[in-house]
């Protein structure tokens, strides 16, 4: 499989994504967003708003645009 790496903010909705890079923000790590974590983008809010992600199919986190653009993900499979 050779899916290219993109940032979380631009990722397609409703696809299972694997996190490949996270900036060092301790709250991200504490929430469980680390390398290898699986996330699905559920909604994106215009005008500089956040993205809403489902993490490990367990809970939802809203991630501000300025953080989401720094998180790298790759597509694992379509849902």
């Amino acid at each position: 499989m050779s899916f290219k790496t993109i940032n979380l903010y631009d990722a397609k909705k409703e696809k299972v994504l694997q996190v490949t890079f996270v900036p060092s923000i301790s709250l991200l790590e504490n929430l469980g967003l680390r390398n290898g974590t699986k996330v699905v983008v559920q909604s994106r809010y215009g005008f500089g708003g956040p993205v809403l992600c489902r993490v490990e199919n367990a809970f939802a986190v809203a991630i501000g645009k300025d953080i989401a653009t720094q998180i790298a993900v790759k597509e694992v499979s379509s849902k």
């Binding site: 923000i25 680390r34 909604s43 500089g48 367990a58 809970f59 991630i63 501000g64 645009k65």
Partner: protein
Amino acid sequence: MSHHHGNQSDEKVLNNPNKILLMGNPNVGKSIFFTELTGVHAISGNFTGTTVSFTQGQITLGGKEYTLIDVPGTYSLSPTSEAEAVAARFVQSGAAAIICVLDASNLERNLRLAMELTTYDIPIIYTLNMMDVAERKGVSVDVMQLMVDLGAPVIETIATKRQGLDKLIQSLEVVLKQAEGCEYSCNKCEGCPWAAAREICNRACTKDVNANPSFLDKLGDAMMKPKSGIPMAIFVMAAAIAIIVFGGRGLRAGAILPLVNNVIVPFFRNLFTSFVPEGVFQNILIGEFGIFVISFEWILALIFPYVLMFYVAFTFLEDTGFLPRMSVLFDNIMRKLGAQGGSLIHVLMGYGCAVPAIIGTRAATNRKERIVISAAIAFAIPCISQTGALMSLLAGYAWWMLPAMIAFSLVLFATVTIIVGKMVKGKVDPLLLEIPNMLMPNPKSYGRKLLTRMKHFLKDAQGPMMIAILLAALLAESGVLGIIADAAQPIVSGWLGLPAEAVTALILGIVRREMSVAPLLALDLNALQAFVGGAVSLMYLPCLSVFAILAKEFKAKVAVTIALSTIVVAIFVGGLINQVGQLFM
């Protein structure tokens, strides 16, 4: 309820070895357990950071007294906010036991904190909470397997429905007894807490992928989609405002005003005229502006109906999970203002009272965000007491005066947020917020929370009100008020265009916010004067309690700066509105 932070009593609580810590991730139900176990009411709500400081209460277990501590929720012991730092300090100080509350619907991340806790040699008892939400999501947990892996008791509970609490107490007594006199050992986590948490979770949890989402889950999801969520949020806000405005007005006219005018005030009037001779002293007690007349007319008849209706709506909304959804939907607007959506929760709390709102900003990950939002709340967010008074003030004029005042306050909020954001150095952290499942508020805890808040309001409002009225009466009777009014005449009458007596509002407004409005009600103002008076009061110094909390939470310098600038800005902008308004009148 005792809130403490950063002072000597902190040390006392930290050094107390007989304490039991109630810990867990944010928003897993700790405060509900606390209230049930101690009878001390801790305010709970369905969002991250309801408890930002600890609350303590006594609990008797096996004939021995313990102090139960409701520790702020934390994802990890490496804290990311002031509220989380409190949690880390508590574990480090040691305890007789920890009750670790786990959210069954989100076990892996919850176990991660548990893994960190196991390294501290403190007996732990686990409660597997939110079993109903887990079930709704198709997650089932093998409790026996979990107990084996954790090497400690695991009790299934549904805190919002009070299920499993008896078992928790029994188990806690056993654990405390076992821990006495012998070296405590449980399965300690060595190595990576995440890996260990995942392993345990994988062994204990099974997920049914075909689980049908419930109505609440669907509603929660719909509220998060921009297209459906924004109209729903606006509708909910509009409904809440309607409940407050019309409900408050109805309650006032239909029940409380007649009660005050026909029963309470005449009672005190008869009582005091029977033994207090006519004169100054009688006037101070039961004259037109007497303590026993005005305090009931203002607090009970003018303010209380709106306060009650505000908390009827707000208490419901905060238990459902609506507030964090607002944070997400409107993060873009807050970001444009230089803040972030997470603070919207505190702003909305500020419409009730600024004090818990400013304390609540401790959940923010960033100090700049705290100062910016606290300043904006002090300047531009009227508390419900003030809103009630403002509604009464503006009600006698054109219908559009109230919406105009709301629009003015929103513009003011945006302006203050932007300007303070530019003044305070540093950067605001972007939004990073867990969105909880939607929950239906439990009627019992809803009622109890509402009752607690009303008791607090009546207690907090009545005292300062009486002091302020006494102060006003003394100023008026001694003639000092006349001297101040003369001195302030150029500002109050010349610049603001208000009658000279309006200076009373500016003096009393220092004590409580609604009192910067209430004295204007008796002055027979024209529409422009009413609007100017309302606008000045909106911007003017928040109350003494807000000043105190600003000084406590930040430096005294911050509190003084905010207080002085509110006064200057209120008089300057209020005068501008008057001068511009004059051109059109």
